[in-house]
Amino acid sequence: MKLVTAVIKPYQLDAVKEALHALGVTGLTVSEVQGYGRQKGHTEVYRGAEYTVEFLPKIKVEVVTDEIDVDKIVDAVVTSARTGKIGDGKVWVTAVEEVVRVRTGERGLDAL
């Protein structure tokens, strides 16, 4: 199995979820993260003290999935998360050796 991890713009989460849903992905886990990269941060000013915030809010989406679906899923995420502007984010894939569904103890694909 594989774990697909995507770091995307928060506003795109809805589209990504819908795209994955359409692919029949039944579950995913998201979290709030802060991203640093090519995309410029913004400037804030408090009582005249000005500074740049280089870390920008992003959303991380994690999906554990069957090998064979990986490419479909990666493509779905990439297309649905794309705005074409710098900062759209990254998607990466890592190998998963085992998955267990807590409720039932099922393992492997049955756990998804």
């Binding site: 713009k9 928060p10 506003y11 989460l13 809805d14 589209a15 979820k17 819908e18 998201v30 709030e32 920008l56 809010p57 992003k58 959303i59």
Partner: protein, 455 residues
């Protein structure tokens, strides 16, 4: 009699101050509570404002402060008719010798009824069905608050016959609410996980702000209870400030000695304990004794809040430890410190005696005890019975699942905060995702959920 613009302005503004106390209490309780029950906690206070205001105007005021012909009946209840439904026949009536319209006095007393009911909610957080709360508020207000207010202030037996003193509500408000809180909490049972899990305050700044608003409003509550503006009003004001400040110190000192660290939750709680304790006594004692009462109350309540762990009842936000205990401290303190040096009415108008330390002997102390114990028993009993009735009617405790998931979502369909990053899509990236792309909004503004499920 003519309207006295000074007195009336004072009581109008005091009424507004006392009204503000209930949102302040909602913030104080809500901040002390866990995040997942914040809104329900505040809702119990806000619903009291809504419900009790109307009931007070309809029948509460006339039953508590109206007077029926019969002396016998009057000991227990006021008039059913005199001020019924806040009619217009008495639009221009002046209350007694105060130079203040009866309407204003009615409004002032209304605010007391509101907050007394709201005070009880602190013991019931996170597990009482909201519907059950509304029914309880209605029942307890009618069966307990209204008669007790009459007994203490409306010409009833505690004030007029027993001559127990209660300047601004130690017995009628705090002991009354505290005893009721205990009664309901015992029937309601513990929150899941209590006391194993620590249920720490989710927003301490709200606790402190709430305490600040309570303190501010309490000047109207205490000094306002003199109704007119005179030298007793001045003493009551000074005493309120001194006792509260001293109690804040008292609580913090206990923490410093016991835990090595004074806390803001402690300072805020101490202030409230002091306000509670000086409430019955503020118009009858001198400033330094007031400060003494405050420091004692602060320390006593700081220790009393630990009782629930020993005795094993879940008085969630310490209504008993602070209001019941503080109310008793203040009520008995009158028996020691009451003096005509600050208020001649004690022996003249009110037919009471000075305190033990002012040559009045133990008489007044005895009266204070009888008055307070009677209200304690009556309020506790009726409250417990009401709770049992609601339990039987199945409008009492929420399901375990609802409690674990949070009563805000279960009973109000709201969550208190959504701090999703500003960079997000606003409202909530998650909430938005929940809505789904194709979300329609039908005629009456409802998001079409079925469609979501379908899609």
């Amino acid at each position: 009699m003519e309207i006295d613009t000074g007195n009336t302005a004072w009581l109008l503004l005091s009424s507004a101050l006392v009204l503000l106390m209930t949102p302040g209490l909602a913030l104080f309780y809500g901040g002390l509570n866990r995040n997942k029950g914040m809104l329900n906690m505040m809702m119990m206070s806000f619903s009291s404002i809504g419900l009790i205001s109307v009931l007070w105007a309809l029948y509460g005021f006339t039953l508590a402060f109206g007077s029926n012909g019969s002396d016998g009946l009057n000991k227990f209840l006021g008039s059913f008719t005199q001020y019924w439904g806040s009619g217009t026949t008495w639009t221009s009536e002046i209350w007694g010798e105060t130079g203040i319209p009866t309407y204003v006095f009615m409004a002032f007393q209304m605010m007391f009824a509101i907050i007394t009911v709201a005070l009880i909610s602190g013991a019931l957080s996170d597990r009482l069905k909201f519907g059950g709360w509304v029914l309880f508020a209605f029942g307890w207000f009618t069966l307990v608050y209204v008669p007790v207010a009459h007994w203490v202030w409306g010409g009833g037996w505690i004030g007029a016959n027993l001559h127990a003193l209660d300047f601004a509500g130690g017995t009628a408000v705090h002991i009354n609410a505290g005893a009721a809180a205990l009664g309901v909490a015992l029937v309601l049972g513990k929150r899941i996980g209590w006391p194993r899990e620590n249920m720490r305050p989710h927003n301490v700044p709200f606790v402190a702000l709430g305490a600040g608003l309570l303190w501010f409003g309490w000047f109207g509550f205490n000094a306002g209870s003199e109704l007119t503006v005179d030298s007793t009003t001045a003493v009551a004001f000074v005493n309120t400030q001194l006792a509260t400040a001293a109690a804040l110190c008292g609580w913090c000192i206990v923490e410093w000695l016991r835990d090595g660290k004074p806390t803001l939750v402690g300072a805020s709680s101490g202030a409230v304990a002091g306000l509670v304790a000086i409430t019955p006594a503020c118009g009858f004692v001198a400033p330094l004794p007031a400060a003494l009462i405050g420091i004692i109350a602060g320390a006593a309540c700081a220790l009393a809040v630990g009782l629930k762990y020993r005795l094993g009842y879940d008085d969630s936000l310490d209504v008993v430890g602070v209001h019941f205990v503080g109310g008793w401290v203040g009520s008995l303190a009158i028996g020691f410190f009451a003096t005509t040096q600050v208020n001649s009415a004690i022996t003249d108008g009110l037919g009471a005696s000075e305190g033990l330390f002012y040559g009045g002997g133990a008489t007044q102390l005895g009266r204070q005890f009888v008055g307070s114990i009677s209200v304690t028993i009556y309020s506790f009993a009726i409250a417990a019975i009401l709770a049992l009735v609601l339990k039987a009617l199945k409008v009492f405790r929420v399901s375990e699942e609802a409690e674990v998931g949070g009563i805000d979502i279960a009973d109000h369909g709201e969550t208190a905060y959504d701090f999703t990053p500003a960079g997000g899509s606003g409202g909530s990236a998650f909430a938005m995702a929940g809505l789904g792309a194709g979300k329609q909004v039908d005629a009456d503004g409802k998001a079409d959920v079925s469609q979501k499920v379908a899609g």
